[in-house]
Symmetry: none
């Protein structure tokens, strides 16, 4: 848990995405200079320190003394996206026991790239076109802007709602008049943003011809 679990800063996440996409599109990791060019850094050391930070957090592996010696750990890439089903109270969303299967979907199909898929239960987001059984593509994030559809955890309960922040109060709005908003005073009850919805996949399992 030590290194791997530490969350990335937004900037570090951007760097990591750039690395993933470079590997995806060019079949090789970027050099420090290419990272600089992509982000407008004027010093190669800016890239260097970011890479070190990512390596320290276990997000990448750095091979010393090799050109383009950036490797992505197995978990970070490939094999499609993990599909998370029911989330038990009090445990991390991406805990292995929640991963039902992996779906062969390119994370970069969404922007920003998705980190996992989450199966939605209930019709509380009906008017946002999110139905019971749908899979939403989630981007891990610790914060979000008002109006974004977020995956939030309130007292060990994981829900998908539209975020509305008003000072110390967080409102989690359903997109369905039948469901009342969840209003939380963050001074008394913690609200953890687990991620932001970046897409949706629906499997219309229709019957087949006779």
């Amino acid at each position: 848990m030590s290194a791997r679990s530490r969350a990335l800063t937004p900037r570090q996440q951007e760097i990591l995405d750039f690395i993933s996409q470079t590997i995806e599109h060019e079949d090789r990791p970027p050099t420090r200079q290419e990272v600089c060019a992509a982000f407008g850094f004027r010093s190669p050391n800016a890239a260097e320190t970011h890479l070190r930070a990512l390596a320290a957090k276990g997000a990448i592996l750095l091979e010393e003394g090799r050109a383009r010696g950036i490797r992505l750990p197995r978990a970070e890439r490939g094999g499609g996206l993990p599909l998370v089903g029911r989330v038990a109270a009090g445990s991390p969303i991406l805990a292995a026991e929640h991963v039902e299967t992996r779906c062969q979907v390119d994370p970069a199909l969404f922007s920003p790239p998705a980190d996992y898929l989450l199966r939605v239960r209930g019709m509380s987001m009906r008017d946002a076109g999110i139905f019971d059984g749908d899979l939403i593509a989630v981007r891990r994030a610790g914060e979000a802007r008002n109006g974004q559809i977020v995956i939030a955890r309130v007292e060990d309960d994981v829900t998908v709602k539209t975020l509305q922040r008003k000072g110390a109060t967080v409102e989690l709005l359903a997109a369905n008049p039948d469901y009342p908003p969840i209003v939380v005073d963050t001074r008394r009850t913690p609200v953890v943003i687990e991620g932001i919805m970046v897409g949706l996949i629906r499997k219309d399992s229709w019957s087949q011809p006779r």
Copy 2:
């Protein structure tokens, strides 16, 4: 064809295989020295001349002045589903000019497996959770059952609607009270079922619809 069609020598094929495997296993192409190490060459020029030969035959692309600047031509990139955008009147849906791009999605994610993705325009299927800009996964089929969401062509117009057949009359129902049903007498106007919707993909680019 001049360069591309020339056959590789056995040795060149070995080199090419090594390059492919290196990309596969290490997520990056080898350097000249790594090629030498793999084959026991004592001179980096051995690798260099092989790479030039492969490039001359079109088996690889060499980028000048870049570390690990070996690229494999992406001819084999057939994976994924074709994404069809606007469909011009009178031409087949899967005509090459309609295919905007290919999406790295496993067709077997849906059941029955999808044949292509179609970008939806308009909100006529809003209450079915299909919004403007959504991609629907389509299974090619010439017929469908009542209640299924179909991709139908009526007089060179391609639409996505719920099918309702009543004798010689076909009703194409929108899922939105603002849109009237399309009622067609098949004895006078042909209706062609192009396919059945088997799924949906939405790319929420950071914002939300509606």
